[in-house]
C-alpha cells in the first residue's frame, strides 16, 4: 500500500481548495461580478455594474473555508467532531455527577429568587425570575411530554394542543363563570386529560410516523378552532383580563387585604412574580414526583415495555390500548396544568401562543435531554429556553445558533444528553444505569 506516494495532507488540501476557488471564480464572475442595473435619470438605460472586489471576497472565502474544512474535518483521521467529543465529559463522569446534580439543582431552584433578590434587588432580578418561570414551565411541559414520548414511546407532535386546552379552559371558565385559579387548575387538567382520551381512542391504533402526523394535525385543529370560534374564544383577539392566582385567598394587590399587607411587608410587584415562580416549581416537581412513582409501578413499567415491544406486551396479557390511553391522558393532564398556569401568568392568551413551533420546542427538549430522562429535560430546558432568551438580542442569529447546537448535540450524543436509563427496580445496591452507548438503537 506504501508503493503509491500519498500526497501530504496540506498539499492535497491546498489543491482541493484551489479547485474550489476556481469554480467559485467562474461562477461568481458572472453571478456576483456583474450586476445589471437600470440607470436612473438617463432614460432607464441598462448598464452593467462591475463588482470585482466582491468576487475576490467570495473566492477567498471559499478557498479559506475549504482549506480549513479539509485540514480539520474531511481529510484528517482525528476530525474535530472526534476532538469535540473528547473534550466533553464522558458519560461515566456524567452519571457520577448526576447523583449530586439533582439535589444541587433542586437547592438552586428553591433558593434562586432569594439569591437573585439579594444580589440584584427587586428591580434587577425581575427579568431573571421571569426567565426562570419560563424555563420551569418548559421543564414541566417537557416532563409531561416525557411520559408520552419518553416512557410510552408514542411520538406526539401536537402536545401544545393540551397546553392550549388547559390555558383556554382556565381563561374561559374564569371569564364565563368567574371561577378562581385554584378551582380551575384541576378542571383544566381534567379537561385536557379528557381531550387526550378523545384523541387517543381513535388514533392509538396507529404507530410511529402515522401517530405523529395525526397528533400534529390535532394540534393544528385545536389552534384553528380557537382562532375561528370568535363568539366563544374571542378568536385572534384572545382573552384578556384573566384573573391572577391568589395566595390562599390573598391577592397580590396594593393596600388592605393584600398579600403584602397581611404579612406586614412593603408592597412590591415582585412578590407576585416570586409566588408564580414557586407555584410553577411546585407544579413541575409534582409532575416529576408522579412520573417517578408511576415508573416504579406496574403501569409505568408497562409504558416502558410498550415502548420497547408492543407485541410482546400483548402476549404478556397487557391491555395495550388502555396502557397507551393512560399515558396519553396523563401527559395531556400535565400539559393542561401547565397551560392554565401559563394563562394566569400572562393574564392574556391568544391562539398565537400555541403554534406548532411550541410543540417542536417541547419535543426538542425531551429528545435533547434523552428520551425518558427526567434530569435531561431540566438541562435541555435550561439550555434551550435560557439560550433563546440570552440570544434575544441577536434575533436573526438565534435560530442559526439553535440549529448548530442541535447538530453538535446529535453528533456528540445521538441519544440525548442523558441517555442512561436507570432500571426502575433492582435487587442489589450495585445495580447501575445501563448506558445507551452499549446498545444500539433497534438492537436492544
Amino acid at each position: 500500500m506504501q508503493a503509491v506516494k500519498k500526497p501530504s495532507l496540506l498539499e492535497s488540501s491546498l489543491k482541493d481548495a484551489a479547485g474550489g476557488a476556481l469554480v467559485t471564480l467562474a461562477l461568481a464572475a458572472v453571478m456576483i461580478g456583474m450586476k445589471v442595473d437600470v440607470a436612473s435619470g438617463r432614460g432607464a438605460e441598462l448598464f452593467i455594474e462591475y463588482r470585482w472586489f466582491a468576487v475576490a471576497m467570495a473566492v477567498v472565502v471559499v478557498f479559506a473555508g475549504r482549506l480549513v474544512m479539509n485540514l480539520f474535518f474531511w481529510r484528517t483521521d482525528n476530525s474535530v467532531a472526534a476532538a469535540v467529543s473528547g473534550l466533553m465529559p464522558k458519560s461515566k463522569a456524567g452519571s457520577g455527577l448526576g447523583a449530586a446534580l439533582k439535589p444541587l439543582l433542586l437547592i438552586v431552584a428553591i433558593a434562586l429568587p432569594f439569591a437573585l433578590m439579594f444580589w440584584l434587588g427587586a428591580r434587577g432580578s425581575r427579568q431573571y425570575i421571569d426567565l426562570a418561570i419560563l424555563v420551569t414551565t418548559y421543564v414541566m411541559l417537557g416532563w409531561g411530554l416525557n411520559i408520552v414520548v419518553g416512557l410510552a414511546g408514542l411520538l406526539d407532535l401536537g402536545y401544545v394542543a393540551f397546553y392550549a386546552v388547559g390555558a383556554y379552559s382556565y381563561a374561559l371558565l374564569a371569564q364565563y363563570f368567574g371561577f378562581s385559579f385554584w378551582i380551575c387548575l384541576p378542571l383544566a387538567g381534567i379537561l385536557a386529560a379528557f381531550w387526550g382520551i378523545i384523541l387517543g381512542f381513535p388514533v392509538l391504533r396507529l404507530r410511529g410516523d402515522y401517530l405523529a402526523i395525526v397528533t400534529l394535525a390535532f394540534g393544528e385543529i385545536i389552534r384553528v378552532v380557537l382562532l375561528n370560534w370568535y363568539e366563544f374564544t374571542g378568536g385572534p383577539d384572545g382573552i384578556s383580563g384573566i384573573p391572577r392566582p391568589t395566595f390562599f385567598g390573598l391577592e397580590f394587590t396594593r393596600g388592605e387585604g393584600g398579600f403584602a399587607d397581611f404579612f406586614g411587608l412593603d408592597y412590591s410587584s415582585i412578590h407576585r412574580i416570586i409566588f408564580l415562580y414557586y407555584l410553577i416549581l411546585i407544579m413541575a416537581l409534582m409532575t416529576n414526583f408522579v412520573t417517578m412513582r408511576l415508573r416504579r409501578m406496574p403501569i409505568g413499567r408497562a409504558w416502558e415495555a410498550l415502548r420497547e415491544d408492543e407485541i410482546a406486551c400483548r402476549s404478556l396479557g397487557i391491555n395495550t390500548t388502555n396502557t397507551k390511553l393512560t399515558a396519553f391522558a396523563l401527559g395531556a393532564m400535565f400539559g393542561g396544568f401547565a397551560g392554565s398556569f401559563f394563562a394566569t401568568r400572562q393574564g392574556f392568551i391568544s391562539p398565537e401562543s400555541f403554534t406548532f413551533i411550541e410543540s417542536a420546542v417541547i419535543l426538542a427538549i425531551v429528545v435533547l435531554g434523552g428520551l425518558g430522562s427526567q434530569i435531561g429535560v431540566v438541562i435541555a430546558s435550561i439550555f434551550m429556553i435560557g439560550g433563546f432568551e440570552f440570544f434575544r438580542e441577536f434575533e436573526e442569529y438565534r435560530m442559526l445558533v439553535f440549529g448548530l447546537l442541535m447538530v453538535v448535540i446529535m453528533v456528540w450524543k445521538p441519544r440525548g444528553l442523558v441517555s442512561t436509563r436507570a432500571p426502575s427496580v433492582s435487587l442489589s445496591k450495585s445495580a447501575k444505569g445501563i448506558s445507551a452507548d452499549l446498545v444500539q438503537e433497534g438492537h436492544g
Partner: protein, 243 residues
C-alpha cells in the same frame, strides 16, 4: 372436565391475512400434561396457528376452546390472562429493560403474591439469568435472551405454555439446555407445552405427540417416536437439515 377433554381444542380453524388464507381448517388437541409439537417448513402456518390461539390474528372460522372456554374471539390480553402464556417468535424481550424488569413484566398478570417464589423458580431453572438479573435485556446473548423469554412467560404461572421456535438461531448446546428445561418443567410441574419448531428432530424427541403442518393443513399426527420413524417426515424435515 373429563380426562378425555383436551386442555386446548382447536377445531376447523381458518385464519386469513387479508384475502390470503393461511390456515385451512386446522384440528389440533393438546391434553393436560403433554408436550405437543407442531413441525413444518417455513411458511406452513405454524406460527400463524400459535398466534391465532393467542388472538392476533383472530380465526375467521372454527373454534378454539381452552379449558372448556371458547376463546376464539377474545382479545389477546384476555386470552393471556386465562392461564396461557407465550414465548413469541424471535423472543421479543424488552431490550432496554433489565432482566429483572423483563421478568416483572411477565408477572404482571399473576399479581404480586407469588412474585418472589416465581422469581426464584425462574432463576433456578435458568441460573444464568440470576447472574445477569440487573443487566439490560438487549446485552444478553441469544441463548440467554431465549431463556429470558421463556422465564418471562412462566412468570404468569401458566397452565399452558406456547413456545414459538425456541431453538431459532441458537448453538446446539444451548438448544439442548433449553429443551432440557422444557422437559423439566413438564415432568416436575406438570406444565402443558405446545411447541412450534423447525428443529424437527429435537422437537419430536422431546414431545409426547407431534403434528406436521404443510401449507396451512395438518397432514400427519402421531407420537413423537412414530413421526420420527416415518419416512415422509425423515425425508422432508430430518435428513435435509442434517447434511
Amino acid at each position: 372436565m373429563s380426562a378425555t377433554e383436551p386442555l386446548l381444542k382447536v377445531r376447523g380453524v381458518e385464519t386469513y391475512y387479508g384475502k390470503i388464507i393461511a390456515l385451512k381448517g386446522v384440528d389440533l388437541d393438546v391434553f393436560e400434561g403433554e408436550i405437543v409439537t407442531l413441525i413444518g417448513a417455513n411458511g406452513a402456518g405454524k406460527s400463524t396457528l400459535m398466534m391465532t390461539v393467542c388472538g392476533t390474528p383472530q380465526a375467521r372460522n372454527g373454534s378454539i376452546v381452552y379449558a372448556g372456554e371458547d376463546i376464539t374471539l377474545k382479545p389477546t390480553y384476555e386470552i393471556m390472562r386465562t392461564g396461557i402464556a407465550q414465548s413469541p417468535e424471535g423472543r421479543r424481550i424488552f431490550p432496554r429493560m433489565s432482566v429483572l424488569e423483563n421478568l416483572m413484566m411477565g408477572g404482571m398478570v399473576a399479581g404480586n403474591d407469588h412474585f418472589e417464589d416465581d422469581l426464584k423458580k425462574a432463576f433456578d431453572l435458568f441460573p444464568r439469568l440470576r447472574e445477569r438479573k440487573n443487566q439490560r435485556g438487549g446485552t444478553l446473548s441469544g441463548g440467554e435472551q431465549q431463556m429470558l423469554a421463556i422465564a418471562r412467560a412462566l412468570m404468569s404461572r401458566p397452565r399452558l405454555l406456547l413456545l414459538d421456535e425456541p431453538s431459532l438461531g441458537l448453538a446446539p448446546i444451548i438448544v439442548k439446555q433449553i429443551f432440557e428445561a422444557i422437559n423439566e418443567l413438564n415432568k416436575n410441574d406438570g406444565l402443558t407445552v405446545f411447541l412450534v419448531e423447525q428443529n424437527a428432530y429435537h422437537a419430536l424427541k422431546l414431545a409426547h405427540r407431534g403434528y406436521v403442518m404443510v401449507n396451512g393443513v395438518i397432514t400427519m399426527t402421531g407420537t413423537g417416536k412414530e413421526l420420527l420413524s416415518r419416512e415422509e417426515v425423515k425425508a422432508a424435515y430430518l435428513e435435509g437439515g442434517r447434511h
